[in-house]
């Protein structure tokens, strides 16, 4: 695409974004509607998923989310309060026969403000009609309603309006249960779902899975590792780079680099998780992008006067802080903190090992190709430099350029 066209496209895109933000801002500041929460209940045989959107301003009345009472809810305040939000909400919703557990979280903007999004799930088959006991904000705003949309496999959406019942909050024994048809009757409600941040998550090795997920989908860490590995299947000679003869000659430098990277990021991850050291993501995120640029640059134009193992170590320290900020968002259980941290770290190492094995195998196979030095090392590093530089710009200027 010609650059002028691209620039024009950018301006148009920016205008569209700014326009949409203005629109959303104006709507959010002035919308006047009663308090509603939105429940999207998706039922298939043996499984019920609930997506529950609750307005932050309503939650603030019940839970004082605005820690410093300055009238502004920051991401930090909301994140810190999330376990309380989950526990408050889960005590106030029960679907008969379907004990609910929280599986995910998010935030979204609606016409009348920002909403917390709770993802809940239950391994059950939704009864017909569904019997839902609802008690959200019964103690705070009796005019509040839950707007529930129930979608069953292949059936039309059923809509029902749930009226909060104080009985639900008190003990959950005589809660008002609204059927799908909107009729209300008294019946023993299903007991409220488990309270707290994802009970049993540690036992289910969820944090190990999170660790793997983060390294595999954390393209910046992968790109950094690969940048370091690109020249590992060659050795420098006075005549330039030549391919190594045996696999063992490649394995040792690779093992050294990976070990140094692992030791370093485990150290900073541990320090940050224990809250002994803390660095703002505003610094860490661009710094991670910079490590990619520098590591890739070093492949084509040696800039570090030290061995790559040392480079891997120092840059690994930076990446560890990056892992730590994910960990903070996962809200590790306090009771099993050390065990959860270890799971997360082991997950990262397992994912990393898989990536290194694949990358090394591919690179080792390609090493005798005459174009390896020029195309793989040179071209690959150039691509890494470009992506790293764009990430650096994105993360410092807070704009979105790359689609990943």
């Amino acid at each position: 695409m010609p650059s002028s066209e691209r620039a024009g496209g950018w301006r148009a895109a920016l205008r569209a974004i700014v326009g949409a933000l203005l629109l959303l801002g104006a709507a959010a500041a002035f919308a006047h509607k009663a308090s509603d929460s939105y429940l999207q209940i998706t039922a298939s045989p043996g499984r019920v998923d609930v997506r529950w959107d609750i307005a932050l301003r309503d939650l603030d009345v019940a839970l004082d989310l605005d820690g410093d009472a300055d009238g502004k809810l920051t991401w930090g305040e909301v994140r810190a309060a999330w376990p309380r939000i989950e526990s408050y909400a889960l005590q106030r919703l029960a679907i008969e026969g379907c004990p609910l557990a929280a599986t995910g979280r998010g935030l979204e903007r609606r016409n009348d403000g920002a909403y917390a999004v709770l993802q809940l799930t239950s391994p059950c088959t939704l009864p017909t009609p569904p019997r839902i006991a609802y008690g959200l904000f019964a103690d705070v705003d009796p005019t509040h309603r839950g707007i529930a949309k129930v979608q069953r496999d292949g059936a039309a959406v059923e809509l029902s309006v749930l009226e909060p019942s104080a009985a639900m909050v008190a003990g959950g024994t005589a809660a008002r249960v609204a059927s799908g048809a909107g009729a209300a009757s008294s019946s023993p409600a299903a007991s409220a779902a488990a309270v707290g941040a994802r009970p049993g998550a540690v036992a289910r090795w969820e944090f190990f899975v999170e660790g793997i997920r983060h390294i595999v989908t954390g393209y910046d860490h992968v790109l950094f590792l690969i940048s370091l590995l690109l020249p590992a299947v060659m050795r420098r000679t006075p005549a330039g780079r030549v391919p190594v003869e045996r696999l063992s000659a490649a394995v040792w430098p690779v093992a050294g680099i990976v070990t140094a990277f692992t030791v370093a990021h485990s150290m900073t991850l541990g320090l940050a998780a224990l809250k002994l050291v803390s660095l703002t993501p505003a610094f860490i995120e661009p710094a991670i992008a910079a490590t990619i640029v520098l590591a890739a640059l070093d492949n084509v134009l040696p800039i570090f006067p030290v061995r790559r193992v040392v480079v891997a170590f120092f840059f690994g320290l930076v990446h560890g802080f990056g892992f730590a900020s994910v960990l903070a968002e996962l809200e590790l259980p306090r009771a099993d903190f050390a065990w959860a941290l270890l799971q997360f770290n082991l997950g990262i190492e397992a994912g990393q090992l898989a990536i290194v094995l694949v990358a090394t195998t591919v690179l080792f196979t390609l090493r005798r190709w005459p174009g390896y030095a020029r195309v793989v090392i040179g071209g690959g590093s150039a691509v890494a430099i470009a992506i790293g530089a764009l990430w650096f710009i994105e993360r410092t200027a807070n704009v979105s350029i790359l689609p990943f």
């Binding site: 895109a13 569209a16 974004i17 949409a20 933000l21 629109l23 500041a29 002035f30 006047h32 509607k33 009663a34 308090s35 509603d36 959107d53 932050l56 301003r57 309503d58 603030d60 009345v61 004082d64 605005d66 009472a69 300055d70 009238g71 502004k72 809810l73 920051t74 991401w75 930090g76 909301v78 994140r79 998010g106 935030l107 979204e108 903007r109 609606r110 016409n111 403000g113 920002a114 103690d139 705070v140 705003d141 009796p142 005019t143 509040h144 707007i147 309006v161 983060h214 954390g218 910046d220 703002t280 995120e285 990056g322 892992f323 900020s325 994105e394 807070n398 979105s400 689609p403 990943f404």
Partner: protein
Amino acid sequence: MRLPRAPIGLVCATALAALVTASASATPITPSRDDEVIEVLPATSSGRSEDRQLRRRLAERPGDARLAAAVAERYLAQARESGDPRFAGLALAALAAWPDPVKAPNEILLLRATLEQYLHEFDAAVAHLRILLARPGGDGNPQAWLTLATVLRVQGRYADSDAACHRIGVGVYASACLAENAALRGETAAARRSLQELLADARLPPQTRGWLLTSLAELEERDGRAAAADAAYRSVLRLGRDTYAAIAYADFLIAQKRPAEALAVLKDEARTDTVLLRLAIAATRANAPSGERDVAEMRERIALANERPEASVFHGREQAMFALAIDRDAERALALARGDVARQREPLDLLVFAEAARASGRRDAIDEARRLKSSLGLHDRRIDAVL
């Protein structure tokens, strides 16, 4: 960690979709920093920490009637000021310790009825006021009688309203209460004289003066005397901010084909649903640039509100006005207006019903509007002109 970023194309598409359709869809928020502000809470007139303190004290002593009344009054004032119905819900919650109206203390019962009036639950408000006023010693409560007279007037029960006005006692409130009913019935000259006499008292507090002047303006408007109505409305607005009067004046100006002036009258008002509706209509009529945006926003608010099935009943008047003036959907406007006049029968409700009936061209609907007007005994030349 790097938070997921939406591809630029998707962002643009979403933004454009939001611009074009103003859809009610939700967009994900992906904060990148702890200090990023996600939500700005509505301003409180009296301070957030004080609100919180009061709430906590009430949570400790939920049966403390004076404390509960203080909290409820605060929220009610905030609801009126901002037009935000959530505050009325918070106020009701403060009174939750007295679910049985028979056992509720007088001040709690009066507040509850006032909140029900605000929420357009007129039958409930009347029932609760009747319980209060039937109590020994409860009938000496002028505020309760005044509220009852007002609710009955809104329901179009002028004779019952008169009876309540008489019980307020002597003084400006009783006289104004009676004059307002007289004006609605068409005893225009007497009502005008009564209001003007009351206004001659230089010691009137500005709020009372504003109320009397607004009654006078509405009287003149219904009597077809546009110049006098205009002057009275202007006098109210000179006294200071008065949202009710600003909206009534805007309706008058729109009806007088002076939409640009209506926009000017409303420009400093908070964009509550009732204000936004008038902005949308006036801007459309005046071909003002803000029209498209305000129409889209109003449409979205209606769609959102209607996710609750009862919403089109509570906001029937506004929704009927929107259907009639913006969408020119006479059938829908007629259905909405018919639902509205079943509960609420202020002159504007009947006017909207009559206009919708006329626009639909249906004889039976026009007759229905005529019958309703004469059964109330309402005098309103604007409605006569439509029917």
